[in-house]
């Protein structure tokens, strides 16, 4: 990022070690390849997601706990789950897990026989951006009764007159009134 445009000359000058490449730099790069995407340390108790991203198991576990109902890969936002991460066992990683970690043990590796894939896509639509919209047809008429026929109780105060929001609210209120009228007419006629 700090590359070579003239605007950056000032910044680059502050760290002269940039050009002195060599074995150490390469080593560093190798290390960085195995950094956990969450804590930025070299991944310990490493696991890799199906989408190929590397994490420490404690880090990933904490993230999955943070948003239990929307578990996505921190890097690419692919669906991710505890069952679908693969532990990495390097040659030097036979030592026992640190007992201070109060997280469930890293999931074990598993082999599944290939089978015709029919993964259930889930209910989410727009699940990625975290904005769910659902219009419940089920409670449709009752919503009107509760919102239209509840005289004299406190509702959020309306927007001040003349603002755009006021006009929108008025419009919505009329729209829903007509919808309710139509709906009741339909109930009677049908």
């Amino acid at each position: 990022m700090s590359s070579n445009t003239t605007e950056n000359a000032k910044h680059s000058a502050e760290h002269p070690d940039g050009d002195g490449a060599g074995a150490t730099d390469e080593d560093k790069k190798d290390d960085r390849m195995f950094e956990c995407n969450i804590c930025l340390d070299t991944a310990r108790d490493a696991v890799v997601s199906m989408c190929g991203h590397l994490f420490c198991w404690p880090c990933l576990h904490q993230w999955l706990e943070t948003r239990p109902n929307r578990q996505v890969c921190p890097v690419c936002k692919a669906a991710i789950s505890k069952e679908k991460v693969i532990p990495l066992y390097g040659r030097g990683s036979t030592k026992q897990e640190d007992p201070r970690e109060k997280v469930p043990p890293r999931p074990a590796g598993q082999r599944t026989e290939p089978e015709p894939g029919s993964t259930f896509p889930g209910f989410g639509f727009g699940g990625d951006n975290g904005f769910h919209m659902s219009f419940g047809i089920g409670a449709f008429p009752f919503g009107f009764f509760t919102s239209t026929f509840n005289f004299g109780d406190a509702r959020p105060s309306p927007a001040p007159r003349g603002t755009q929001q006021h006009m929108e609210e008025q419009f919505l209120s009329k729209l829903f009134l007509w919808l309710a009228v139509l709906f009741i007419a339909w109930l009677i006629l049908a």
Partner: protein
């Protein structure tokens, strides 16, 4: 690095990498950040060739001790708040990665980059339509606002 909490450890790493390889147009106040790793001030420049060319802005980052699992609280501060359809005059920013779409793989650098690119894609300098109302009624902490992300174009 001894004695640092995990969030401070990670912030320390981010600070180091920003010091080593500062991204163009972004300058961290290192002295301030080193005093308190949970509170950063970042000076940024409007990118060349955009409506904000030549302007300088200050961003404030506040981190909780749950960082990076919890998103940082990011606001514009100082006397020049960019005029932009997603930036309120009190410095609050309507940007999905700062709340709903936050991920622990994001970083200070990637947030800065997103903000620079959000500024750069602006075609007309104006405040959000509900600026006056929002600024009067909002919580001091932008993360308490229930943002509604509706416009991906800017």
């Amino acid at each position: 690095m001894a004695g640092l909490s995990p969030s401070e450890r990670r912030l320390q790493k981010e600070l180091m990498s920003l010091m080593k390889e500062p991204p163009p147009g972004v300058e961290v106040d290192f002295d301030l950040a080193e005093q308190n790793l949970l509170h950063w001030i970042i000076n940024m420049e409007g990118a060349a060739g955009t409506l904000y060319e030549g302007e300088r802005f200050q961003l404030q980052f506040k981190f909780s001790n749950k960082y990076p699992f919890d998103s940082p609280e990011v606001t514009f501060v100082g006397n020049n708040i960019p005029v932009h359809p997603h930036i309120y005059s009190n410095g609050h920013i309507c940007l999905s990665i700062l709340t709903d779409d936050w991920s622990p793989a994001l970083s200070v650098q990637s947030v800065c980059l997103s903000i620079v690119s959000m500024l750069s894609s602006c075609k007309e300098k104006q405040r959000p339509p509900d600026n006056a109302f929002y600024v009067k009624t909002c919580n001091k902490n932008p993360k308490k606002t229930k943002w509604w992300y509706h416009d991906d174009s800017v």
